[in-house]
Structure formats: C-alpha cells, structure tokens
Amino acid sequence: MRISQNPGTALIAGDRGTQLFLALLLTVGVAAPIMHLAFPEDSALHLSTYTMTLLGKYMTYALLAIAVDLVWGYCGILSLGHAAFFALGGYAMGMYLMRQIGTRGVYGDPVLPDFMVFLNWKALPWFWHGFDLFWFTAAMIILVPGLLALAFGWLAFRSRVTGVYLSIITQALTYALMLAFFRNDMGFGGNNGLTDFKEILGADINAPATRVALFVASAMALGLGYLCCRYLVLSRAGRVVQAIRDAESRTRFIGYRVETYKLWVFAFSAVLAGIAGALYVPQVGIINPSEFQPINSIEVVIWVAVGGRGTLYGAVAGALIVNYAKTYFTAAIPELWLYALGAMFVIVTLFLPGGVVGLADRFSLRRRDARTVTA
C-alpha cells in the first residue's frame, strides 16, 4: 500500500476500510439518537433504550478492541491484561458516580458510599478524595491506567521481556488486580463492586436524554480514538513500531530505541482502554472485580483476531461480530456460547489468520483479478 505524502488526507482517503467505518459510525451515531428520541415508542422506527444502551456498550468494546489492536496488531505485544486498564478506567468513573449519590443511598450518608457505611468505616479513604469532581475523575481515568502501563511497561520492556513471557505476566497483572479488588478492605466495594448510580454531571443517569448523551459520547470517543490510532500508525513513529513487530532485533541494531517506542504505544493503548471503561460503566450501571478476570482480556484478543489484526477497523468489526454473537447466543442458546467462542478461537487461528477483514480482502482481490482478466 502506498502511503500518501500528506498525512491529513491519508488518514481517511488512503483506506477503504477506514472510510467505510467512519461512514457507518457517523450514520449510526446520528441515526440511533434520532430514532430513539424523535419516534414514539409504538413506531416501527423507534429504537428502544435497551438497544441504544447495547449499541453504546458495543462502542466502548470496539474502542477497547482498537487499543488491543494497536499493541498487538502493530507492535506485536500480545497483552492478556488489557481488560485491567479498561476496568481501572471504569472504577475511576464508578467512584465519581458513587460520590454523586450523596444522601440518596440506602444509609443516607452524605459522604460515605453505602458499602463503607455497611463496613462501619468512619472516614473516606484518602484515594477516594477528589472523585466528587468531574475534572479530577477525568484526569484519573487517563492517569491511572496510563501510569500503571508506563510503570509496568518500563519494567517489562527494559529487561526485554517479550513474546509469551510478556503475555503471561500481563495476565498475572490482571489476575493480581482481580484478587486485590475482591478484597473488602481495599475500599472499592469488594465483591459487589460499585453500583446503584443516580446521576452523572447533574443529570439523571437513567433518563433517555442522558442515555443518548452517553451513546453519542461513546461514538465520538470511538471515532476520535480510531483517528488518533490511525494517525499514529501512519506516522513515522508508527512505521518504526511496525518494524519492531516484524523484526525487533534488527530495528534495535539500526539504532532505534525499541523500548521507548513500545512503552509509549503500550501506555497510549492503556489510556484508550481506560477511557472505554469509563464510558462503559455509566451505561451498564455497575463495575465489579469480575471485569478483571483474565478471560475478559483474552476475549478482547479474540475480537481483534476474528476481525483481523493490524487494520484497526478489523478490530471494530471483530468486537461487534463477537459481541453480537455473544448477546444472541447467551439469550437464545446459552449452553452453546462457550462452544462457539472456543471454536472461534481455534478456527480463526488455524484458518483465518487475517480475520474477517482478511477474508473480505482476499474475496475482493479475487473479484478484481477476475475483472481484469475479462476486461
């Protein structure tokens, strides 16, 4: 593929997949809120709150998938712990929402969330201060996953932990966090997590307008996140990152600081995952330690693999396909879901290394070839 001289136009013009994705996102992002708000409930064109929230949830998943694709598809780092960054962003948002409950909780304590009153705590732990302010929370949503990724990545990449070793310690990271967040005395609600939210930025969290706003915010975050990643991979640094994926030692010998590139890509990806988590929590209404489960992180990897890694829009497609399948299967034939998911892992790795996107490319390539022959 030839890269256009002007990165601004190359961002969109160079790639059919990107154009298709942005067009679809724009359509859904505009049409869904209109269909939800403008049409009465008995109209055929009405979009229910459930579908709306579901779409919003998928958008945050898609953002998470892009984050994973950035490190795995472009940098060759298979992170089995990205759901941890997602959950950390979610917990930061959850803490803000808990503080907004105020006296409307079951115990009516103006400062302490219900679970703290229940555990007989007298004062707010130090790390809960500031979360009543939205700007502070927004900063934390970016800083907490970002700094954790920086610290972790600095330790890991500097000592050249690569390949499966890195995958396993990222998995250990999310596992350790899961165990930690399950503890009641960590101060994050233990097993039950944070839930029963009332309002966000002064608006009722269950009102249709708020739902629409959250949906639009998710769509915008997805679009912006996509463009940022696309800009990154098209940039000079992005090409170095892909060189690291293909031949790490050679890139190092040429003189690039491989660790630095990997570190910043990893941290940026973690921030994206954190933002996705923060948008996810107000829409589903709960965050609990099971979000840290190692299987969640691995599922994200399979979304990317199913869609086709190293394309970004493939990750989005994969996230949508797998999650739609999950929603459908777990409702219709729940006992088959794990078989389907397991089979997906096997089939994609064995037969579809390029994922669905790769399959489509191959198909259109063959058609184009056929056309040139007939012409």
């Binding site: 330790l155 390949g163 396993i168 165990l179 006992e335 397991g342 892992f345």
Partner: protein, 556 residues
C-alpha cells in the same frame, strides 16, 4: 429379643473411681464377674433401667450400662447426653430416636439397626439433669479410659484435660498406676500436674510447674499463662513468687518449642502447597519448556483428571480406597489422549507461532469446560477421600500433619522421579531432548519429530491428568478447577526457568513456602498478590527464570 454376643462381659480392665454409685457398681462388676457372670444384667436389661423418670434410678442404670461393657455403650450414652434416647410407654423398651419432621426415627440400641419411624406420642424422652449429665460425662471418660486401644485412651485423657474437675482428677489418679502405655501415662501425669496447680501446698504447686515445663498441651499453656498474668487489681492468682517465676521460665521454654513447631508446620504446609504447584506445573514444564508450546488448556486437562477420579469412584463404589490408585493410570490415559488429540488436531499447525497456539488452546479450554458442564452439570462433584488418606499424623501436641498433605508431597516426589527417569533414561526421553535442542538436526538424524511432538504433548497432558487426581483429594472438583491453577502453574514454570524440571521443582516449592510464610502476616489473598507482584518484578530481573537454559537452546 435375644442378647447379642456383644452383651457378654469381656473387658480387660475396669477403672476404679471415686464417683459414689458408679464406682460401687464398677467395683462390684470387677469383683463379681469371675465368679458370677450370670448375675450381670444383659445390656438390654441394663438399658431398661433407664426407662424411668427418677434421676437417682437413672444414675444407677447408667452405672449398670457401663458395667456391661457392651460395644454400643458409647453410642447409647452419647444419645442420652444429647437427649436422643426414648422409651416406649407401653413396654418400657429403650430406643435411640432422632426427630424427623413430626415423626420419630427409631434405632435399636442393641443392634444399631433402624427400627422404623413412628408417632412421637407413644414414646417418652429420657430426660437428664445437670447431675446426671456430669455423671454421664465422667462415665464416658472412664469407659474410654478402660478401652483396649491406647489411642482411644489417649484421646479420652486429652478430652478430660480440657475440662478437669475433681471427679476427673480422681479417675485419672486411679488410672495412673494401672496404665500400661507410656504415652497415656505421661498425658495422665500432665493432667494431674495441672490439677496440682490448684493445690494448697506451695511446694506441690512448684513441683507441678516443674513437671509441666516440657509439655506442649494447650491447656498447660493456658494455666501457666493465668498464673503469671496479674489480675486487674495488680495481684496474682498465684500467691507464691517462687511458683510464679518457675511458671515464667516454664512458659518461656514452652513458647520456644511452640514457635519451633509452628515454623515446622508452616514449612510443611508450604511444602504441600508447593507440591500441588509442582504437580500442576510439571506437565506444563514439558509442553511449554521442552516444546515451546503454550498450552492454555493445561488446567482443563487437570480438571479432566479430577473428573476421571470421580467417574472411577462411581464405577467402583465398593472400593473407594483403591479407586484413587486406579484413577491415576486412567487419568493419565484420558488426559494424555486428549492431549495427543489437541496436538494432532491444532497445535502441530501452529509450531513457531506461540501466540496463536496460546489463543487456539485457550479455545480448547473453553470447549472442554463447557463439555464437562454439560455432562456433569455445573455443580461441584463429590469425590470421596479414601480411609487411608483421612486423618492426621499427630507428631506431638503442637504439631500434627494431615495425611492427605503428606501423601501429596510423596506423590509429587514419585511423579517427579518417574518423569526424570523417562526423560533421562528412555529412548523417548532422548528423542524429546534432541528435538527440543535442535529440531532440524534431530530430523536429519532420523528422529520422527512429528511422532515425538505428539508423544511429548501427550506425556505433559497425561501428567496434568495425574495432577488432577491429586487435586480431586484437596479441592472442589468443578468445571472451574483448571482455571484457578493455570496462572499459578505458568508462574512456577517461568520462575523456575523454561526447559528445566529441577527449576520447576525448586520454583514451585519456594513459591509454596513463601506463600505460606507470608499468609499469617498478610492474609491469604494479599499473600498471593504479594507473591505475584514479586514474581513480576523477578521476571524483570531474570527474564529467563531461576535456571535459564544455557547455550544454543536459549536463543530460540
């Protein structure tokens, strides 16, 4: 109803005791028996004496029941103590009864066989009062003290030490002279010394403290602590300063011993936990370490081994003791077969692409989990522990070792040795190592690498199945069994160094011990987190583990 054989009198000793009526009956029983066995009432007759509302008569009847020394005496008297003894109003026959819904489920006291379920209205509960309960407890204790088995006698003494009263002391004092077993005698002396701590004479108390110096009995520790601890008013329960300082010295020595044995116990717990880790990681060390294949389904292969144990037990319910031993080879074959199938079906297409292998085998693990859930339901399956694995080895009063933990350590050692022998002494092992070191070279020398790959993967998977048999005796057998061990297993392999079974052994053992040592200070979950964090940091320092492979093999 005829008297069953067990009603014949046949004890070897009957303890003399100072319990009024009881003693008298016992003494008479002892004196009379040789001459007039026929005059001793049968068990059933003695029992019928209990069917009265007069507590004095009941007490006398208890004495009669004891004197008969029937095999069921303990059961019946315990039932009486717990209020589960009834008599039929019509014929005053005594039954053991348990209330079930509105009915009474009866059990014949002589044969212990069920005797039907009836309306409770025709039966009357044999009630007890404080005095009778006290008598009963002492009676049961002295009954056990006369048992032929020294273990039972020792347990009875330990039980008595927990709440020693004047009656108990006199029973023990009487027993001291006739007790043939040294250990039981020592326990009795400890008990008497505890009693002497309340003595009038300071010299006796001092001697008692001196005697108790080496004892590890928790009751001794409590009593001595009470002696040296001042009351709120600042005075001491023990008036004599000499006794108090002797008690302090004794306590210090006891505490030293207790902490020593406590450390030993922690070490042992750590070793048994480490053995579990080694067992679950050692199969992985083969597939991951020798072949470079990440098998995320490893935990599920262990789960298959555990379920195999369950199925084997279902097939041979009469021989639970042997079932576990039978399950070991069966589990090896089952898990090994599944492993070979995974290798032939999936992994062999993905050599050289470790990340893809990881994902594909993860898919297999999901399928296996759901398969087990569909066949055996999502609930945990009850796997029975054979008799020979239950219980514990009582080293002394401060240290006891449960047998199942002990066997796990032994089992791990056996598996490890066999595996080392297979890898170092057989032609398969030679080929496995050759392929691991240099695949192309091995192939040119005529080694059928495909075949070796399949067998190596099968071997590693089979070991996982064997580990599952061990796990079935230690944890719940459910579909999620594998998941909880997979991360720990990977940690052990990575910590120990890939491709090195000794590294896995040392890695697993040290992780187990460290975990157990941290646990009392940090709590179980925090200890685990600390270990994980320490490991993550460790991998940064030594990315290739404790014992990295040297030479060309390390470059792969």
């Amino acid at each position: 109803m005829q008297a069953v054989p067990g009603t014949r009198p046949g004890p070897r000793f009957v303890p003399p005791s100072g319990l009024g009526w009881l003693v008298l009956v016992l003494m008479m029983g002892m004196l009379w028996r040789p001459a007039a066995a026929a005059e001793t009432p049968s068990f059933e007759q003695a029992l019928s004496g209990l069917a009265t509302s007069n507590f004095k008569e009941k007490e006398r009847a208890v004495g009669d029941v004891i004197a008969v020394r029937h095999a069921n005496t303990r059961v019946v008297l315990n039932a009486l103590l717990e209020g589960n003894l009834y008599y039929r109003k019509s014929d005053r026959r005594v039954f053991i009864g348990t209330a079930q819904d509105a009915n009474l489920q009866l059990q014949d006291p002589v044969t212990l066989s069920p005797a039907g379920t009836t309306e409770p209205s025709e039966y009357s509960k044999i009630t007890t009062n404080n005095q009778l309960r006290k008598t009963l407890k002492s009676a049961l204790a002295s009954f056990d003290l006369a048992d032929a088995d020294p273990q039972v006698r020792l347990a009875a003494v330990s039980e008595m030490l927990r709440s020693l009263d004047a009656d108990g002391v006199s029973i023990l004092r009487a027993r001291e002279g006739t007790e043939p077993d040294e250990a039981v005698r020592e326990a009795i002396r400890t008990g008497l010394a505890i009693a002497d701590l309340d003595g009038e004479d300071a010299a006796i108390r001092l001697a008692a403290v001196e005697h108790l110096k080496g004892s590890l009995n928790p009751e001794v520790f409590n009593r001595l602590t009470a002696i040296v601890t001042p009351t709120d008013a600042g005075s001491y329960a023990e008036p004599d300063e000499k006794v108090r300082s002797a008690a302090r010295v004794a306590l210090a020595s006891i505490e030293r011993w207790r902490s020593l044995f406590g450390t030993l116990e922690t070490l042992f717990f750590g070793m048994s936990l480490g053995s579990v880790l080694v067992l679950s990681a050692i199969g992985l060390a083969i597939t991951f370490g020798v072949m470079g294949v990440i098998n995320m389904a490893h935990g599920e292969l262990m789960m298959l081994g555990a379920y195999t144990t369950y199925v084997v037990q279902l097939l041979m319910p009469q021989h639970i003791g042997a079932s576990v031993l039978v399950a070991i080879p069966v589990a090896f074959v089952v898990a090994g077969g599944v492993g070979v199938a995974i290798e032939r079906g999936i992994v062999r297409f993905l050599y050289g692409r470790p990340l893809e292998t990881l994902l594909a085998t993860f898919g297999v693990s999901l399928v296996l989990q759901q398969l087990v859930r569909d066949i055996f339901t999502a609930n945990n399956r009850p796997v029975e522990t054979p008799q020979w694995m239950a219980g514990s080895l009582q080293v002394n009063e401060a240290l006891s070792i449960t047998y199942n933990r002990l066997y796990v350590v032994l089992f791990m050692v056996i598996v490890f040795v066999i595996l080392q022998l297979v890898l170092k002494r057989t032609s398969l092992g030679l080929k496995v190592r050759a392929v691991a070191q240099n695949r192309a070279m091995a192939k040119s020398m005529g080694v059928r690498t495909e075949w070796v790959d399949a067998l190596t993967f099968g071997l590693g998977s089979g070991i996982a199945g064997v580990a599952g048999v061990a796990l079935s005796q230690l944890t719940n057998v459910g579909p999620n069994l594998g998941q909880s061990y997979i991360i720990d297993s990977f940690m052990v392999v990575v910590f120990g160094g890939v491709g090195n079974l000794w590294g896995t052994l040392i890695g697993g053992m040290s992780l187990g011990v460290v975990n157990q040592v941290l646990e009392p200070y940090a709590g179980a979950v925090l200890a685990k987190i600390l270990v994980l964090i320490a490991l993550i940091l460790f991998i940064q320092r030594r990315p290739r583990g404790l014992f990295p492979q040297k030479g060309r093999a390390a470059e792969g």
